[in-house]
C-alpha cells in the first residue's frame, strides 16, 4: 500500500488572479508530485494540494516568497488514513461478531 507518511495537505488562499497564476506555475512542476485535491478555481475557493514530504520545504518557500497565504489542512495524511482504516476494521469485526 502507498504510504503517505509526512505528506501534508496545504490549503492555499489566493488573494488575487496573479496569485492563482503563481499556484498554477507550481501545478506544472511535475517533479514536485503535487496532487491538487481542489484546483485553482474562478471563485477563489480555497486551493487544496497534497504535498509529498520531499517537496514540502520548497513549496512552502515558494508560497511564502510570493506572499501567498496558506495553512496546513492535514498535518500527516497517513495518520488520517490509519484512523480511517482502523474505523473500517473495527466496524467489520463488530459486524462479523
Amino acid at each position: 500500500k502507498e504510504d503517505f507518511s509526512g505528506h501534508q495537505v496545504l490549503r492555499i488562499l489566493a488573494a488575487n488572479e496573479a496569485q492563482v497564476e503563481k499556484v498554477r506555475e507550481l501545478e506544472k512542476l511535475e517533479h514536485l508530485q503535487l496532487d491538487f485535491w481542489r484546483g485553482p478555481s474562478r471563485l477563489f475557493l480555497p486551493i487544496d494540494v497534497r504535498v509529498p514530504f520531499s517537496s514540502l520545504q520548497s513549496v512552502k518557500v515558494f508560497l511564502e516568497a510570493n506572499g501567498v497565504k496558506y495553512s496546513i489542512m492535514i498535518e500527516d495524511v497517513q495518520l488520517l488514513l490509519d484512523e480511517e482504516e482502523k474505523e473500517m476494521f473495527a466496524f467489520r469485526s463488530r459486524a462479523r461478531s
Binding site: 502507498e2 485553482p40 473500517m88
Partner: protein
C-alpha cells in the same frame, strides 16, 4: 439491508453484496443491470428502480466515477436504500417512480475503487494501461466526447486529469454512453463527485452558455436551497466553467449535448479540513442533504417533461 451499516465505508465486495441483497428484497421494484465490464474485468452494475412499463422516461444518477471520492459511493448506497424505503411512503418519490425509472450506478469506476482499498487510497482515475507510458489510468471525467482534448484536461498520461488517447477510450465511460444511447429516453443525468459543495451544470469546455441556462440555473438554486435547509451546508451553483474552471471532456457536457436537458454534477462535502478523507460519521448527513437536492431535480424533471 436494514442492518447494513450506512455510516461506514465499505469495500467493493460489500457494496456488490448490498446491491444483490436489495434486489432480492425488492423484486417488484429493483433489478440489477450489468452495462459492461471494467478494464480489469469487473462488472459495471447499475440498479434499476422501476414500477412498470417499458422504456419509460428515466433519471440517471452515478457516484464514484473518481474512485477516491468515497463519500459518493457511500451516499449512493444510502440513496438506493432510501428509494426502496420511500416508495409508497413518500408522496414525491412515489409520484416520480410511478412515471419515471431511476438508474443508479454506485461504483462507476470499480477498478479504481478496488485500488483505493488495496494499494492507494488517493487513486482517482481508471486503471487502464497507457501504451508507451509507465503511468496508469485516465481521468474518467475528461474522457467524454464533449470538447474532448481541449484546454481543461491534460495530454500527459501521468497527470490526474489525463484525458486518454481518444474520447470514450475508457470502457467505464463507453459503457454508460452506449447504455444512454440505446435507452434513448433519459431525461435527467446527475453525476456525483466530491468535494467542495457545488452544484454545477454545463458547460465546462466552453464559455458558451447552455441553451437552457436560465432554467438550469433556477433549478440548481432551488435544489441547493433544499439541500442547505437540512444542516445549513453552504453550496454554490453555476456552470462548470464560470464556477470552478475550464474542464473538457466532462460527463454532463456530453449528456447535455446528447439532449438530456437536466444534466448536473454535484460536488458533495467536505465542509471542513478532511477533503477526500471525510470521516464516516459524516456519510449519512451528507447523503441526507444531497437527497433533498436530488429529489428537487427529479421532481422538476417529472413535472417538466420535454
Amino acid at each position: 439491508t436494514d442492518t447494513f451499516n450506512y455510516a461506514a465505508y465499505h469495500t467493493l465486495a460489500e457494496i456488490n453484496e448490498f446491491i444483490d441483497l436489495l434486489v432480492a428484497e425488492n423484486p417488484n421494484l429493483v433489478s440489477k443491470i450489468q452495462i459492461g465490464n471494467s478494464y480489469e474485468g469487473r462488472p459495471l452494475n447499475v440498479l434499476k428502480f422501476s414500477t412498470g412499463g417499458s422504456n419509460r422516461p428515466a433519471i440517471w444518477i452515478d457516484t464514484g466515477i473518481h474512485s477516491r471520492e468515497w463519500v459518493t459511493q457511500a451516499s449512493g448506497v444510502w440513496f438506493a436504500k432510501k428509494i426502496t424505503d420511500d416508495y409508497g411512503q413518500d408522496e414525491k418519490l412515489t409520484a416520480i417512480l410511478d412515471s419515471l425509472d431511476i438508474f443508479l450506478e454506485i461504483v462507476t469506476n470499480p477498478d479504481g475503487f478496488a485500488f483505493t482499498h488495496s494499494s492507494n487510497r488517493l487513486w482517482r482515475k481508471t486503471r487502464s494501461i497507457s501504451a508507451g507510458s509507465s503511468c496508469v489510468g485516465v481521468d474518467p471525467n475528461r474522457n467524454w466526447d464533449a470538447g474532448f482534448g481541449l484546454s481543461g484536461a491534460s495530454s500527459n498520461p501521468c497527470s490526474e486529469t489525463y484525458h486518454g488517447k481518444f474520447a470514450n477510450s475508457e470502457v467505464e465511460v463507453k459503457s454508460i454512453v452506449d447504455f444512454v444511447n440505446s435507452h434513448g429516453n433519459i431525461k435527467a443525468f446527475i453525476s456525483i463527485h466530491s468535494y467542495s459543495q457545488l452544484l454545477l451544470y454545463p458547460y465546462g469546455y466552453t464559455t458558451t452558455q447552455a441553451a437552457h441556462q436560465p432554467e438550469l440555473d433556477a433549478l440548481a438554486k432551488a435544489a441547493v436551497n433544499n439541500l442547505s435547509s437540512l444542516y445549513g451546508t453552504k453550496y454554490k451553483y453555476g456552470s462548470i466553467i464560470t464556477t470552478i474552471y475550464q474542464a473538457s471532456g466532462g460527463t454532463v457536457d456530453w449528456t447535455y449535448n446528447s439532449g438530456i436537458k437536466y444534466s448536473y454534477t454535484f460536488e458533495l462535502r467536505d465542509t471542513g479540513f478532511y477533503g477526500f478523507l471525510l470521516p464516516a460519521r459524516q456519510i449519512i448527513p451528507t447523503a441526507q442533504e444531497t437527497w433533498l437536492g436530488l429529489i428537487t431535480i427529479m421532481d422538476y424533471t417529472l413535472k417538466h417533461p420535454y
